[in-house]
């Protein structure tokens, strides 16, 4: 079934990693620089993320995500570079426009932070099927019902878009204008939305029955369709990430104590 997600099916070691390992990686990528407090750590994680994305053959897919955030980041650079309180050291001047070193350095910090978080999330989003992610969370103890709700969101939205398309066609076929002035569009709203709502109610009822006949509400402990293989590789990566977080924590505490 069609799902909304950025996931792209590929056969790489990164895709095969346990989704929870990827979540742990995000945690590490955020926590370690935050605890350790250095830009070097951020830069290191950015480099690591890029390497992982390359190995997963999805680096190109991060471009639209990054280019969107760059628009925001450029404004940050301009505003902070020009106007940050505490700007004293002139970095360079373009005619009457003067950029200050303090502001630029602050903007660089923000930029690294954003790129780091985006890239580490990209690894999870681009290489994990949403349903696998939900399944991993259910294994961890998330209620299977809540898991179903999360997973179904990815499927229901494209389904509703398709229904919306058919309904628009059906009403246009009966001579209803759907394009044009605001008034035309307002008039078209009810004929379009009413069948969508009715259809959703009907499908929801049918879905509920279909789930129930397959024991959705059963109190027995649920098993999984695919048995999870305990893999050494996942464990090794998990251990490495945990060690990094702990080391950063120890580092932070030591700084406090001295």
């Amino acid at each position: 079934m069609k799902e909304i997600s950025l996931y792209e099916e590929k056969d790489t070691p990164i895709h095969a990693l346990d989704p929870l390992t990827k979540i742990l990686y995000i945690l590490a990528a955020i926590l370690v620089p935050a605890l350790y407090g250095g830009r070097t750590a951020m830069a290191a994680f950015i480099a690591a993320s890029i390497a992982v994305l390359l190995a997963g053959r999805v680096l190109r897919r991060t471009l639209p995500i990054l280019s969107f955030s760059f628009i925001v980041l450029i404004t940050v650079v301009i505003i902070q570079g020009l106007f940050r309180a505490g700007n004293t050291t002139v970095a360079f001047a373009l005619g009457p426009v003067v950029f200050y070193r303090e502001g630029l350095s602050f903007a660089l910090g923000i930029g690294l932070n954003v790129v780091n978080i985006l890239l580490s999330f990209s690894i999870l989003v681009l290489t994990t099927r949403p349903s696998d992610l939900v399944e991993a969370m259910v294994r961890l103890g998330l209620s299977p019902k809540l898991g179903y709700v999360l997973a179904s969101v990815f499927q229901i939205i494209p389904q509703m878009t398709a229904t919306m398309g058919t309904i628009t066609d059906a009403q246009r076929s009966r001579g209803m204008e759907t394009e044009g002035s605001l008034l035309v569009r307002i008039k078209a709203f009810l004929p379009l939305i009413a069948p969508v709502v009715m259809n959703s109610l009907i499908t929801t009822k049918e879905r509920a029955i279909a789930l129930e006949v397959r024991g959705f509400d059963s109190r027995r402990e649920k098993t999984f369709l695919r048995e999870r293989k305990a893999r050494g590789r996942d464990k090794a990566v998990n251990a490495l990430l945990a060690v990094l977080i702990v080391l950063a924590l120890i580092g932070r505490v030591t700084i406090w104590l001295t």
Binding site: I167, D169, R172, R174, M176, E177, L190, P191, P195, M198
Partner: protein, 270 residues
Amino acid sequence: MADIQVKELTFGYAESKPVLQGISLSFDGRSTAIIGQNGAGKTTFVKLLKGLLKPTAGDVLIDGQNTREATVASLAGRIGMVFQNPNDQIFKNKVLDEVMFGPLNIGMSEGEAKEHAEAALALVGLCGLEQENPYDLSLSERKMVAIASILAMDTGVVIFDEPTIAQDWRGRRTIGSIIRGLRERGKLVIAILHDMDFVAEYFERTVVFAKGRVLLDGGTREVFAKEECLRAAYLEPPHVTQLCKSLGYNEVFLTAEDFVSHVKGNGFTV
């Protein structure tokens, strides 16, 4: 009489995968069934006729007007289409209002629309249910509401997408007689169907689609005679046709009545 010309029609949802390839057809007054395997491009084809989709290449002319240059709403007065799922269109609280929606949209007066709507509801056998809420009706009745809402628009062309689904024997008969009635009033009827017995009984012309092309086109009897060709499109002739062929008759029979009258005419007693 409405006139539809299809010239070298090619269409694909994605550029690399054409759904229809170089289709040329012209529709005369005969009621026409479109049959073919799932995914052969039948629904896509009728959506192109209706102007809901625009051709990638080639042209569709409705009464001489190119669908590329017309909006769907402006074509609605000339060409009506009954969708598969009635739930995709029903939004009024009363059956009568639902059926009047189309006629009012194409510029009929209130009185005219009401008159047409009531006549259409009588045709589909829903007399007396005008004030009901459509969603209180059964699915097959709602399907009839959807049919009535197109009939009431009194278009020169009426397209049905799978009209016999979810209909019992009586519903099928009603739809069959509606199709005949439209034909007698000089309307062009085009229907997508999977029920070969229904095609044999009510349609004069049959077009077979396979993999985005027209495989066969001709009188229904003529088309169902070409069993080999039909098998290649994963279709089979009507049951009566198959039975009579197995019995060793050389003629092609389309319906039981057809066969019975032939046998009686030859002096047998049945």
